[in-house]
């Protein structure tokens, strides 16, 4: 139990996928202008990460390994993630077309979100069991969502700030993201002792 908790804390905060490992930066920058969109993205990514972690573990454990097809994992995982993402897209379109509009291209792009593939591959590399895989996937998704929402609220505040012309938009967003990563460096070494 304690190990699962530490795994969750590690994946969500200490080794935050966005701010410590710099994975999944594309939606982090792209869908952080509005809170509603970011919240939708956070939920969609959490959903995809959790489902994809579980399914990829199942595929790995019960199909690829028994058949000796370990080398196919990247291909198979991407296929699997693409399927889950498509399903998520259908769900989003059915529940909130506005959110579907807001997320735009970034929703299908969850497929190529390196955080998602990263989680699936890390699960395999670290020989996580099914429960561990699910917890790891969910907490990575939660960590991504947390970073995204914090970043979005920061950017919303910067919207009304008197930012110098040269830094408006993406530059100040990147500086902010950098300072967020700097702040997350405070967690380095946590758990090492």
């Amino acid at each position: 139990m304690t190990e699962l908790l530490l795994l969750a804390l590690g994946a969500s905060l200490v080794n935050n996928f966005v701010l410590s490992n710099f994975l999944g930066l594309c939606p982090f920058i792209g869908v952080s202008r509005r809170f509603e969109a970011a919240a939708g993205m956070a939920l969609a990514t959490l959903f995809v990460l959790t489902i994809a972690s579980g399914l990829s573990f199942a595929l790995w454990q019960w199909v690829l390994v028994p058949l000796g097809l370990e080398y196919l994992r990247t291909l198979v995982f991407i296929l699997l993630i693409a399927g889950v993402v498509q399903f998520a897209e259908i769900m989003v379109r059915a529940t909130s077309p506005l959110l579907h509009q807001l997320l735009g291209i970034f929703l299908p792009l969850i497929t190529t979100n390196c955080a998602v593939l990263g989680v699936a591959l890390l699960n395999v590399d670290r020989q996580h069991g099914l429960l561990e895989s699910l917890v790891f996937g969910a907490s990575a998704g939660a960590g991504f969502g947390l970073a995204l929402l914090l970043f979005t609220t920061l950017r919303e505040r910067l919207d009304t700030a008197d930012v110098p012309q040269a830094f408006r938009g993406a530059p100040v967003a990147l500086v902010t993201a950098g300072l967020m990563a700097l702040a997350f460096m405070g967690f380095t070494g946590l758990g090492a002792r």
């Binding site: 809170f35 929402l149 914090l150 970043f151 609220t153 920061l154 919303e156 505040r157 910067l158 700030a161 008197d162 930012v163 110098p164 830094f167 100040v172 500086v175 902010t176 300072l179 967020m180 700097l182 702040a183 997350f184 460096m185 405070g186 967690f187 380095t188 070494g189 946590l190 758990g191 090492a192 002792r193």
Partner: protein, 362 residues
């Protein structure tokens, strides 16, 4: 009966006698201005500064001078670059507060160019990239400090051995060493033994080497009667300055109390559970940057939460994260990162701690 209703049909009257200015209400203000707030903060730092100089030598004064000059130059340059009038911004004192906080946080032996670099980064990257006074989401001084700390860890953790450690050192030697350090001389050659880690750092390293806390505290170079050697007095002086600010209502109680609560409550519990390795509340409160952070750094209004409830969450978060980093983290003192981490949560906190408006349901 006249045809009424259409104002255009009613003749206009013109008068030109005595005219008055028609500015909007209110017509009076308290006149308690930003510069006065900022200079009160600087004034409240004086006791801590005196303690600092008495215990660690005049290095602080050197760092202060380089920080203030750099800060004013950086502020002026940033405003000139944006075609803004620099004079009011230089006079409002806010950039001096940043310089003071950074100078108080960095070791007094730091070479001057690092102090200047840190200050310039604080003012430019921490403040003016976001638009200057009032716009920065992060505490500029802590931005500068954190960048220096992750980039120059060795220089940033080398402190003079404080005067209240029993030894034969004199203050004038400290002064000479400070000047040497300021110009970047290699201190290990002549001054080895005069420098060392801070008390918190020593305890952390000692615990890593499997010493117990009572053993470490038994060494007379680490802790005194109240807290860490040297830092206890600075903390006490900062506490006095902070209480003065509270008395003048420049700082309200929420953030300092929450910071101290967030730090001391867990340390009290942990110390109760295992006094062999967990630092007690007194040691936590009077070592490192605790009081400076609680009263001067976390309370920077620009980067803090705005509602009373939000300030409590914000302060408690800083205290708790600082405790976590001090206890398990890779850095000896966690306040800079704790402040930055909670800074980035501030808009989020503000979003969920809007106070109840009169006449609305909670």
């Amino acid at each position: 009966m006249i045809a009424h209703g259409d104002p255009a049909t009613i003749p206009q009257a013109t008068r030109t006698d005595m005219r008055f200015d028609t500015s909007p209400a209110p017509h009076v203000i308290a006149g308690y201005t930003v510069p006065r707030v900022m200079f009160q903060v600087l004034f409240a730092l004086v006791p801590a500064g005196i303690a600092h100089v008495a215990l660690f030598g005049p290095g602080l004064l050197l760092q202060l001078s380089v920080a203030c000059v750099t800060a004013l130059l950086a502020e002026a340059a940033a405003l000139r670059w944006r075609d803004r009038d620099a004079a009011p911004a230089l006079k409002d004192g806010s950039v001096l507060v940043t310089a003071f906080l950074l100078a108080f946080s960095i070791p007094p032996l730091l070479p001057w160019w690092l102090g200047a670099l840190g200050t310039a980064l604080a003012v430019l990257l921490g403040k003016h990239v976001f638009g200057g006074l009032g716009q920065n989401p992060f505490n500029p001084a802590m931005v500068g400090y954190a960048i220096l700390l992750v980039s120059f860890p060795a220089e940033m953790t080398r402190w003079p051995v404080p005067m209240d450690v029993e030894s034969t050192r004199t203050w004038s030697e400290l002064a000479r060493m400070s000047i040497a350090g300021f110009y970047g001389a290699d201190l290990t050659a002549r001054w080895d033994g005069y420098t060392g880690a801070t008390a918190l750092d020593s305890i952390r390293n000692g615990l890593d080497l499997r010493y117990t806390l009572p053993e470490l505290l038994g060494r007379d170079d680490i802790a005194g009667t109240l807290g860490a050697r040297g830092f206890a007095w600075i903390n006490l002086a900062a506490l006095a300055g902070g209480l003065y600010l509270m008395l003048r209502r420049i700082v309200r109680w929420h953030i300092p109390v929450a910071v101290l609560g967030g730090l001391l409550v867990p340390s009290f519990i942990a110390h109760g559970l295992d006094s062999g390795i967990a630092l007690g509340p007194a040691l936590q409160a009077f070592s490192g940057a605790t009081m400076l952070a609680a009263f001067f750094i976390a309370t920077d209004p620009v980067s803090a939460a705005t509602s009373d409830r939000g300030r409590l969450w914000y302060g408690a978060g800083i205290g708790l994260i600082a405790w976590i980093i001090r206890t398990w983290g890779g850095y000896p003192d966690g306040f800079a990162f704790a402040v930055l981490l909670m800074n980035l949560a501030v808009p989020f906190i503000d979003r969920y701690t809007v106070p109840r408006i009169y006449g609305r349901q909670p």
